[in-house]
Amino acid sequence: MHELSIAATIVESVLEVVSTRGISDVRTVRLAVGELTCVQHEQLRFCYESLAGQTEIKGSALEIELVPAEVKCPHCEYEGAPRYWDEALAAELVPTLQCPQCGKGTEAVRGHECAIRSIQYAS
């Protein structure tokens, strides 16, 4: 349940923005979460709502945008979407670091992000 510690960081960060910018009535917090992180969106949303509910940003919604993974192959110069592993026992397809073109090892260039993109509020 590392989602709880991430949710706590989100709430803390939003509260800081609220107090430094003097805003109120936060409606939506938008996140970007990379496909290569192992952050469960549903659990994160639940943890966020539980924690935010005890603060002045109670009732605000968490919107999570999935950032697709991208890999770069040092062997064949391929750059783009990763190869997915359909034998993995997961609810969704699992991105791998195997090059879709030549089958060798690639490096991830995108998909590890976990960040607040924007905070929406009403005045």
């Binding site: 349940m1 590392h2 510690s5 991430i6 960081t9 989100i10 960060s13 923005v17 910018r21 805003i23 409606r27 996140l31 290569l36 992180t37 192992c38 952050v39 592993w85 034998e87 993995a88 026992l89 997961a90 699992v94 991105p95 791998t96 670091l97 195997q98 090059c99 089958g103 060798k104 090892g105 991830a108 992000e113 976990c114 960040a115 607040i116 993109r117 924007s118 905070i119 929406q120 509020y121 009403a122 005045s123």
Partner: protein
Amino acid sequence: MIPTIEASPAEIYDIELEHSLLAANAELARKNQELLDQHGITAIDIMGAIGSGKTTLISKLAGKLSDQLGLAVLNGDATTADDVAVIAEAGAQVVQLATVNGCHLDANLVGKALKRLNLEEVNLILIENIGNLICPAEFPLGSRSRIVVVSVTEGPYMVKKHPHMFLGADVVVINKVDLAEAMGVKVDDLKADVHKLKPDIRVIVTSCRTGQGIDEVASVVAPQPSV
């Protein structure tokens, strides 16, 4: 229908941020790494499920390596007094890290532990992470490399079930292979699964009971001689 009054779009404002949620930990990890580099210390993060044999592997490594170099062990996992005794007997400094109910170590805790060690006497630090194959993946600690230990007693599907952990690993140890036949687990299949996720990764097959593969793990974790 219940009427709802929504603020009109003109009254809704956006604050654009690019605020990384893992940055605080990543920054502390970088500081740990810097401190370790200053002292010429190599740190290795050892991850794996409960019962995969992390502690036993560490005590075997301690037995092999502590004559040759200054070894310290940070125990993040619940470790029995027996394990600590074996590791300490081998001559290693041991610091126990209590996360209470936390499911992963973080760079802050490791940074505090580093302050408890006499770094002048240490060349290698083995960090035993919490027994968990999911959460530690997102929290680098400042180690040079990350080893995932998976054992055949966890069944044939550990890689298929926890792919993320292997994507972030530098070395995979498949442990307890002396029990593979009894468990009906094919070690080659586990290996093939790992390589489907990460083709270049080094996989070492071990048994802490028979001693198979322990020398190879020791050679991987030992600091590279400086050129």
